[in-house]
């Protein structure tokens, strides 16, 4: 359940948003979703180039709350898995 159970991706490598540790910042590089969901993600600030930070996980392990474009957005891991990101170097 916890992202940290997996091998944490290192800076520079492309991974997906659902695998980001809490407190880590990353940058969106691609959106694999299509159609309406894709437009929704764009409108909500999940665009290539956006900085995203994982803030908290819901008590039951899903969804996850992210900070993007200065506001809080929560989404399920399923959707976060469609967003490609690279970790930002500290």
């Amino acid at each position: 359940m916890e992202p940290s159970d997996r091998t944490a991706p290192r800076g520079g490598a492309v991974t997906t948003l659902d695998r980001i540790d809490l407190g880590c910042r990353c940058r969106v590089v691609g959106i694999r979703a299509s159609g309406a969901l894709r437009k929704r993600l764009f409108a909500m600030g999940m665009v290539p180039g956006a900085d995203v930070e994982a803030i908290r996980v819901a008590p039951l392990g899903d969804p996850v709350e992210y900070r993007v474009k200065g506001y809080a957005l929560s989404m399920r891991r399923a959707e976060a898995g469609l967003i490609e990101v690279v970790l930002e170097e500290e």
Partner: protein, 665 residues
């Protein structure tokens, strides 16, 4: 003289309705979560000889509508063409809000920005240079604080001015050579269709087509130029264009922001601290449950003394009325019909108000969004998005707004399921029935019994959702993507106002539908002439005995059958009808005493009855809402039939099992 239509648009939860209420003096529902407003609302103002019509729209993140409420907003702006669009912008979330601005300006409609929530932005030390923003965007920007009614005059002035200076040209995002060339060639093709050109700005339409917007594609589908448009689009990767265009919009915004905004030192964030606790891994769920239980306790404990007070008042009133009024029939009409019927429902006003106070607290603080966040995993298990939890919580107040709130749910099947299970969420109208029967038959355990009913309602909703998901409405649950609003401290004034405006509806209902129901039942109980009031020889008795065989297996007699029949109109009428039929007016006794004295009623029957009232067909208003929201009578009919069958079965089972637990009572 000349009418001007001003549409309030913007992202969800930015304060559109707050401004609308301040501008027009209306009292539309405001709440601190995205998706409160789901229909357009109109208000009128007279100002310097102008009639100004203000239209409050549901919030939307983009003009590519995604959910049913967003469609309402988009279609209004696009098809009804307001004279000016006031985009309400949350000053604390400029970047995302301005994304919508870039889309609205493409519509070539006059726009004014209401820079709202400036108080919150300033509290964090952030300042926004409105003049600079205005000159960069070429749009007037007005400072507003909706909650304090600041900036309303300036806003109206700017809106009227803009509306009058049309035709208009706005600052429009340039998408770069390649895309602009595509847009230009599309515009060239589209221009051949005069009709299309009259209705929509062609550049906007072309840009939307390039983004693969379904709605835009549908618009050109009927047009003679459709095939040529397809030729241009077919050879291209629309997803690529879409990303590039979104990127450009955010680039433009990113270029503007540093020139107009000086970020404050981000102070210690209270919202963040509260969230650490209430969404904590271990504490989150216990806190949620404790809140629910606490609300529930409050509804009973705090209300009890007030209920007793009203009961005493009504008893005095009916005793007094019996003395004053001459003819026996008149005394019976007022005592049995009006006081017995309406009074027995009004007794529970304190409980209802406390319930609404709690619900408005949930909504106004922003906890509602956290509840959806916490419960999402559970909703996923039954095949619904976490947002479906919000209509359920709203449904505890009343199922009608609960069902309306389902509009924010994106997937059509998800929305239907959410609508169909909402009637099982026990609304405030059912509370009087429980309090009456649980109070009369279960004494100290009354609280636990009512809690059981609420849980049964929720379980039925969840079970039915799962059933529908696997049978009539199969599919995957739609994505859960939701903005989490910051916590806001509701003022005592607004909380009381919200509580009052909804509680008043209950009182109004008592004076209208329930009064009418009570009078009809009183007539049925009094005629034909000469029969003993409320006896089985009366019309009510005949009607009841006609229905009795249907509910006899559940242990209900004819009086209950009549009450249940009229309760279809509104569930409080069950209590009102019983109040009339048991004729509590004369003795001045509380209805509960009369029920307890009826040898035909046992604790087990009372429980079965409460289960029946919880589940059987939704009230008329809810049925009409289901029909409207689901779009066909079929679903409304299904909901009624499903509820009746379920109620009958479960209430039979409960009636049979309960005696074992209640010691054969």
């Amino acid at each position: 003289m000349i009418g001007i239509r001003i549409a309030l648009a913007g992202n969800p939860n930015v304060g559109k309705t707050t401004l609308f209420n301040a501008l027009t003096g209306s009292r539309q529902h405001v709440g601190n979560w995205p998706g409160v407003t789901v229909e357009k609302k109109t208000g009128r103002i007279n100002r310097n000889g102008h009639t100004i019509e203000v239209i409050d729209l549901p919030g939307t993140y983009s003009l590519t509508a995604y959910s049913a409420d967003e469609v309402v907003a988009r279609d209004y702006i696009l098809e009804e063409k307001p004279d000016v669009v006031v985009q309400v912008v949350d000053a604390t979330h400029l970047e995302r809000n301005l994304y919508l601005t870039t889309q609205i300006t493409e519509l070539e409609v006059p726009v004014v920005i209401a820079l709202n929530m400036v108080d919150e932005a300033e509290a964090t030390g952030c300042t926004i240079d409105r003049e600079r923003l205005s000159s960069l965007l070429e749009i007037p920007v007005v400072r507003t604080v909706g909650t304090r009614g600041e900036g309303l005059d300036d806003l109206l002035d700017a809106a009227v001015r803009e509306a009058k200076t049309s035709p208009h040209h706005e600052h429009i995002v340039g998408y770069g050579n390649e895309i602009e060339a595509m847009i230009a060639s599309l515009v060239g093709v589209l221009a051949a269709d005069k009709d299309l050109g009259d209705r929509y700005p062609l550049r906007w339409l072309a840009a939307r087509l390039l983004e693969g917007d379904e709605n835009a594609l549908a618009k050109v589908k009927e047009s003679p130029v459709s095939s040529r448009v397809q030729d241009i689009l077919s050879g291209t990767d629309l997803d690529e264009y879409e990303a590039a265009m979104a990127d450009r919009r955010y680039d433009v915004i990113a270029a503007v922001l540093p020139q107009v905004r000086t970020a404050g030192a981000r102070s210690m964030n209270v919202s963040e601290m509260i969230d650490r606790v209430v969404t904590d891994r271990y504490l989150g769920i216990p806190i949620f449950l404790a809140l629910m239980w606490g609300a529930f306790e409050l509804t009973f404990v705090v209300a009890a003394p007030f209920v007793a007070l009203i009961e005493a008042g009504l008893a005095w009133l009916s005793a007094a009325v019996a003395g004053w009024l001459g003819p026996a029939w008149l005394a019976s009409l007022v005592g049995d019909g009006i006081i017995g019927g309406v009074g027995s429902v009004l007794v529970f006003v304190p409980n209802i108000f406390i319930l609404f106070l709690f619900l408005s607290f949930l909504e106004d603080t922003g906890y509602l969004a956290r509840a959806a966040f916490i419960m999402d995993r559970l909703m996923y298990a039954i095949g619904l998005p976490g947002k479906a939890f919000i209509p359920m919580l709203i449904g505890f107040g009343c199922n009608v707004p609960g069902i309306m709130a389902a509009r924010t749910i994106e997937g059509e099947k998800d929305r239907l399921i959410t609508i169909l299970v909402n009637p099982f969420i026990s609304c405030s109208a059912r509370l009087p029935v429980y309090i009456l029967f649980a109070g009369a038959f279960f004494g100290a355990a009354a609280g636990a019994v009512v809690f059981f009913l609420y849980v049964l309602g929720i379980s039925t909703a969840i079970g039915s959702a799962k059933l529908f998901r696997h049978t009539i409405l199969p599919g995957e649950s739609s994505p859960f993507i939701m903005e989490m609003p910051p916590y806001r401290l509701p003022t005592v004034g607004t909380s009381l106002l919200h509580t009052w405006s909804r509680g008043a509806m209950y009182v109004r209902k008592a004076g209208t539908i329930i009064l009418a129901g009570a009078l009809v039942v009183w007539c049925l109980a009094s005629f034909p002439f000469g029969v003993e009031y409320g006896s089985s020889e009366s019309l009510a008795g005949s009607l009841g005995r006609l229905l009795e065989p249907l509910v006899a297996p559940l242990g209900f007699d004819w009086k209950i059958a009549v009450a249940l029949l009229f309760g279809l109109v509104a569930k409080e009428v069950v209590v009102g009808s019983l109040g009339v039929l048991y004729g509590t007016g004369e003795e001045g006794d509380a209805l509960s005493t009369a029920l307890l004295a009826d040898p035909g009623l046992s604790a087990a029957t009372a429980l079965a009855l409460m289960v029946f009232v919880l589940l059987y067909a939704p009230c008329l208003a809810t049925i009409a809402t289901i029909r409207k929201e689901a779009g066909s009578w079929r679903w409304a009919g299904f909901s009624v039939a499903y509820g009746l069958v379920l109620a009958w079965t479960l209430s039979l089972i409960v009636g049979r099992i309960a005696p074992f637990f209640l010691g054969g009572a």
